[in-house]
Symmetry: C2
Subunit: 339 residues, 2 copies
């Protein structure tokens, strides 16, 4: 059995109340006894029991992160950003991921109850109804990339539309006229926004009727297949814009296999700027999302909500993207920042 506050109190000849006060620096205790208590505490290696503490304090110094998955560079970066910001505030991170369906996600949500001071939620199941059903009213929550607009929760979204729009414009600016888009899973809201950005930019250039969308599912393989399909199109496109980097990379393989030159014959662009994007050949032009920043911003917002729960929720924050120009579309290595 581990040593409790009572043991410390006994050894220091004081009451538990004084121990608590001394150790938490709440005052009302002589400098001398405080010193004595401190010494006894360290000698006994006393560590307060957090469950007991948070039972009465109603604070856990922990925030929960509900994620759909931990696969790939995206989540790795996201967690890193969250963890960084959490750590600087002395908060701990309870992660829960890979819930296939809404029921599992609901269970995970319940399990967080009483264990966290706030919640970061990024889940495909996290629509408004789900949250209403499963979230205690009082728990501060920040929605990441859910594209749910709710009075009750703060939210943080990536500027998918702006990023795709800018990339399409970039390709048009390079003189590409026949730009094919490789989409991701249909249910994915990010994908919808990226498609919208792509369409919108084409329309703005008076090329709205040229929009052509191939289906993909975010895997390298689907990108490869979409690449093959693009090659079979007549007239053949002069640029391919994939909804994420992995598909763009698959696409590059398809082109290389067909001896089509990139970017001379067909330019290729991706979305995400995963670490690998720099290293494929040719290096991939892509839309960078500052993922770690996204995580940091989300945690910062959450921390603010926890500090001052009654503040009006500020308007949804949108995380900007930027275009990273590499060889796969022609042009040198540069980064253009978007507001």
């Amino acid at each position: 059995m581990s040593v409790t506050i009572k043991d410390v109190a006994r050894m220091a000849n004081v009451s538990v109340a004084s121990v608590s006060r001394a150790l938490n620096g709440h005052g009302g205790v002589t400098a001398e006894t405080q010193k004595r208590i401190r010494e006894v505490a360290t000698r006994l290696r006393y560590v307060p029991h957090n469950a007991a503490r948070s039972l009465i304090t109603r604070r856990t110094q922990t925030i929960g992160a509900l994620l759909p998955d931990l696969h790939g560079a995206f989540f790795s970066e996201l967690i890193r950003g969250i963890d960084l910001a959490a750590r600087s505030r002395g908060l701990y991170l309870l992660v829960s991921s890979s819930h296939g369906d809404a029921t599992e996600a609901a269970i995970a949500l319940r399990a967080m109850q009483g264990r966290v001071d706030g919640l970061l939620v990024m889940s495909p199941h996290a629509d408004e109804a789900f949250l209403d059903e499963n979230l205690p009213v009082v728990l501060p929550t920040v929605l990441i990339n859910s594209h749910v607009r709710s009075e009750r929760h703060a939210s943080l979204d990536v500027d998918d539309f702006g990023g795709a729009h800018a990339m399409t414009e970039h390709l048009l600016g390079l003189g590409r006229k026949r730009i094919v888009f490789i989409a991701g899973p249909e249910v994915n809201h990010d994908v919808q926004e990226r498609i919208r950005g792509y369409r919108d930019a084409l329309a703005a250039a008076g090329l709205g009727e040229r929009a052509a969308i191939l289906q993909g599912d975010f895997t390298e393989e689907s990108g490869y297949h979409a690449g093959k399909q693009a090659l079979a199109m007549v007239p053949r496109p002069d640029a391919i814009f994939a909804a994420n980097d992995m598909m763009a990379i698959g696409c590059l393989s398809a082109l290389a296999e067909a001896k089509v030159r990139t970017p001379d014959d067909i330019a290729v662009a991706g979305f995400d700027d995963i670490p690998m994007a720099r290293y494929v050949s040719p290096p991939l032009t892509t839309v960078r999302i500052r993922i770690a920043e996204l995580g940091e911003a989300a945690l910062q917002r959450l921390a603010a909500m926890i500090e001052a729960p009654d503040d009006a929720a500020p308007e949804p924050h949108v995380v900007s993207t930027e275009i990273v120009v590499r060889a796969s579309c022609g042009g040198g290595d540069t980064v253009r920042r978007r507001a």
Copy 2:
């Protein structure tokens, strides 16, 4: 204020004890009242308060992971493996990372107290003295890659020696005679083991005096510089074996820049098999660590310790590695499994 077990008890006209029994399925409660209690509970959206529960139960259903950092593919995969195994056991994951020094790590360790049922520790500061000082005696703990042999903790290590040994043998088998090794940070125990494997294999081939080690620090940049140094050596090496993939990749750039052909002039091999390794050109021959498996195994071991705390600690588990042959050393794409 959220709804407690008392509210449920009142609404169902039973005592809190019965509610507890009914909801936890402990029996001793009529099927009929159990049903009534269940209904009231869901109607009120009752969720047990975990802090209170674990205060009395002394179980938190949570395991803590103490990691040095969250950067890069390695930790991403490790967490994924841990999370996967944890989830299948209904355990949650409290992560704590990026502690620069031992003091920070100690603070993190204390903060876990009373919040976790067991600990997964992978930290450069986690030597025996540190653990003795900061770890409560009773907390089940699994050390990952710490290369600390202790009676008190289980440990799990990657077979760095075997991997490096096998890769060196592989290169020798391809007829390479002058193999240079690029090392990582000196303090890193994995690096020491990899060096040992390299030296040992050379010695076994009667080429012990040919061992040549260049300094690196695991970054791509350091690999690039080491590559330059290798090119300047006379006689020029015919193979470079880097202690991790990122350095190998940096090395590839240096060779490409110098118009040296890979693998014809100089073969290059890495360690880790990060996802990127497949995509660089030429694709990198490397030693694969099944990182996710490492995480899973660690969690499994920990779970076993939590279930049966008094079992004798089984002997340290070593996670095997395998050689992944890609173009950077010549030869086709194959994977050779090592025991």
